[in-house]
């Protein structure tokens, strides 16, 4: 209440002292700060923007030279009653404003978050600095924290169904490049989602729409993008296949891990195996797969033989799994590989008689052996147990066959 009261008293005072002398002059910043340059005495709950302007901060902001009334254009004189309108940034920033009007963030109105939308990201309206200034909330190194105010807030995520991805991003290879290495070139939110025109990944015009992802990632990873389009996956995408995997299918969206680490290297089930289920299952039956399942990147994983971004079918002579290249592919790990060695089946299926009859019959034999031994001795053991249990409980002289007491 104090603020409201002092505002009114101030208005009256200023009006009495100077109204007659200055009524015809346009307002200057100096005039405005007569009232607006005092520190607030209590938190202002009612106004989204502080009534009190740090004049020094404002002078150093990008808008400093413009004074107050370019933005607050409806304030012609004081006292300015009724209350001035919200500032319309789009008067000058029409391009970003148009982009923003198409973005998912216009949903703010529907959510009754009544803040002027621009300020949510750009911060204090009287202290807006260029995005290249480290003090800016949209400076690349600050941007994830700015977006994370909503997209890292579990309550908001739950209430409005928005993506809670800050923690995933900050724990990713891109997040580390930004937080640990301090790289301005590290991908942050806007690198993939755009700045003002953030649209749903379901929108075909979105940078994060499925078929646009290779180009989006390729804006930094250009070499990988070229390799990807050389391989079967990229070719299938180009041919219009909706099932063709794109970068994010293997690397995930926000939680992109450093690929050299064992946790990433030993997860073929969540990368290639997501689509190639049968190939994954048969791989897991090999020693390669067993070692990998233990979380150790010491035996061949999918990409050790197939490559990663340029994956080619065995019919392509350039493929690492083309028959004529297998000796050198296997030879990456195994010394002394011969032509006979490469008839090893890296995806064996003992249930598939056509693939390898010897393996099939070996599996049948082993299953029958196990079944036979345990059926016979299981029965034998149970009958024996019943018989001796009975002897023991009847205190027979025949029990326990002379065991020393």
């Amino acid at each position: 209440m104090l603020t409201r009261a002092s505002y009114l008293i101030g208005l009256l005072l200023v009006a009495f002292v100077s109204s007659a002398a200055q009524a015809a002059q346009p307002l200057t910043a100096k005039d405005c700060v007569t009232c607006h340059n005092a520190a607030p005495t209590e938190p202002q709950k009612e106004e989204p923007v502080p009534l009190y302007v740090n004049a020094k901060l404002f002078q150093s902001s990008v808008h400093g030279p413009m004074g107050c009334t370019i933005c607050h254009s409806d304030v012609k004189a004081f006292p300015h009653v009724p209350k001035p309108q919200n500032v319309a940034c789009d008067k000058c920033h029409s391009g970003p404003a148009k982009d923003f009007s198409e973005s998912v963030h216009t949903a703010w109105d529907a959510m009754k978050l009544k803040f002027p939308a621009c300020l949510n990201c750009h911060g204090n309206p009287h202290g807006i600095v260029a995005k290249t200034n480290p003090l800016s909330p949209v400076y690349p190194l600050n941007l994830p924290y700015t977006c994370g105010r909503c997209h890292g807030n579990p309550d908001l995520a739950k209430r409005y169904g928005i993506a809670n991805v800050f923690a995933l991003y900050i724990d990713s290879v891109h997040g580390f490049a930004l937080t640990k290495d301090g790289l301005l070139v590290a991908a942050s939110c806007a690198s993939c989602h755009g700045a003002h025109r953030v649209v749903s990944p379901k929108d075909p015009s979105s940078q994060t729409f499925r078929t646009n992802i290779p180009a989006t990632c390729g804006s930094c990873h250009a070499g990988i993008e070229a390799q990807y389009f050389d391989g079967v996956h990229g070719r299938a995408l180009k041919a219009g296949s909706s099932a063709a995997p794109v970068c994010t299918d293997c690397h995930t969206v926000h939680h992109i891990a450093k690929v050299e680490t064992a946790p990433w290297q030993t997860r073929p089930a969540t990368t290639c195996g997501n689509c190639h289920k049968q190939r994954l299952r048969t791989y897991q039956d090999t020693f390669h797969g067993q070692v990998t399942a233990l979380g150790v990147a010491e035996a061949a994983r999918c990409w050790s033989c197939h490559g990663n971004h340029v994956i080619l079918p065995p019919s392509d002579p350039k493929s690492s799994i083309a028959p004529q290249n297998l000796i050198s592919t296997c030879g990456q790990c195994h010394k002394g590989v011969t032509r006979s060695f490469i008839s090893f089946e890296p995806h064996p299926d003992p249930r598939d008689r056509a693939l390898n009859p010897i393996l099939y019959y070996a599996a049948v034999f082993m299953n029958l052996l196990l079944l036979g031994v345990f059926t016979f001795f299981g029965l034998h053991t149970m009958l024996w147990l019943v018989r001796t249990w009975n002897l023991k409980n009847h205190q027979s002289d025949d029990f326990p066959f002379g065991r020393p007491q």
């Binding site: 897991q284 039956d285 090999t286 020693f287 797969g289 067993q290 070692v291 399942a293 233990l294 979380g295 150790v296 010491e298 195994h334 010394k335 002394g336 590989v337 011969t338 006979s340 060695f341 490469i342 008839s343 090893f344 089946e345 064996p348 003992p350 390898n356 010897i358 393996l359 070996a362 599996a363 082993m366 299953n367 052996l369 196990l370 031994v373 345990f374 001795f377 034998h380 053991t381 009958l383 024996w384 147990l385 019943v386 018989r387 001796t388 249990w389 002897l391 023991k392 002289d397 025949d398 029990f399 326990p400 066959f401 002379g402 065991r403 020393p404 007491q405």
Partner: protein, 277 residues
Amino acid sequence: MNAEKPTTVYYFRFSLGQRYLHGVLIVIFLGLAATGMTLRFSDTPWAQAVSDAIGFRAVLFFHKFCAVVLTGGFLLHLCDVFYRGLLRGQTNILYGPDSLVPRPQDLIDLYEHVRWFLWLGPRPRFSRFTYWEKFDYWAVFWGMAIIGISGYMIWFAPFFARFVPGYGMNVALLVHGEEGLLAVWFIFIIHFFNTHLRPEKFPLDAVIITGRLSGDELRHERPIEYESLVEHDGLKSIETGAPPRWLMNFAGIIAVLAIGVGFILVFVTLTAFFAGA
């Protein structure tokens, strides 16, 4: 029960060398089973915990180390059989009632034993080795040969690929894993019960550790051998006293450890096998 002081007289059944060899077999088999099952069921949380705890390289190293030691033990045993059976002319270990080599009588014993299980006849009179002991022996013998050869094939795959096609390693891994599973379950369930856990022997038959069994046991459990020893005046030379207390305690500790580790392995492998199947 016999009138003569039955529980004080003991007879040697196994030589010191045989007992040491079985001791090595216990330790090595436990080591091979624990490390091998970790690889066989590598997609289970317990296998990953073992691998994380001691390191994958350690798991593989111990598996191969134990394999080499067991190969040595196996060859030593073959040399011993060859030396005693052929060079020293102890042909009774190669055939006849004292031998581990199966003979038709074993089938008759099995038939009569099952009849006894079903209250249909008297308990059969066994010789030095019963049919289930022979099965134990030959199962391990066959198992060591098969698992050993297939294991070395996987270990030295490029070398063996000179003699067998590369897909032979697929077969080798399959056989190695299944035969290993068979061995683990057989030893830790069937062998443990037949030899140690059945009510007459519970909690363990210490004969393989102490090397000796009581006169009562010999007379009741292996009457044919006993009668043959009496007839050939062989009892005096193998007579001994009761095993010392420390040896019995030692046997108890070994048994608790082996049965404990064995049952844990049986539990985790059975659950993993049936969860995966």
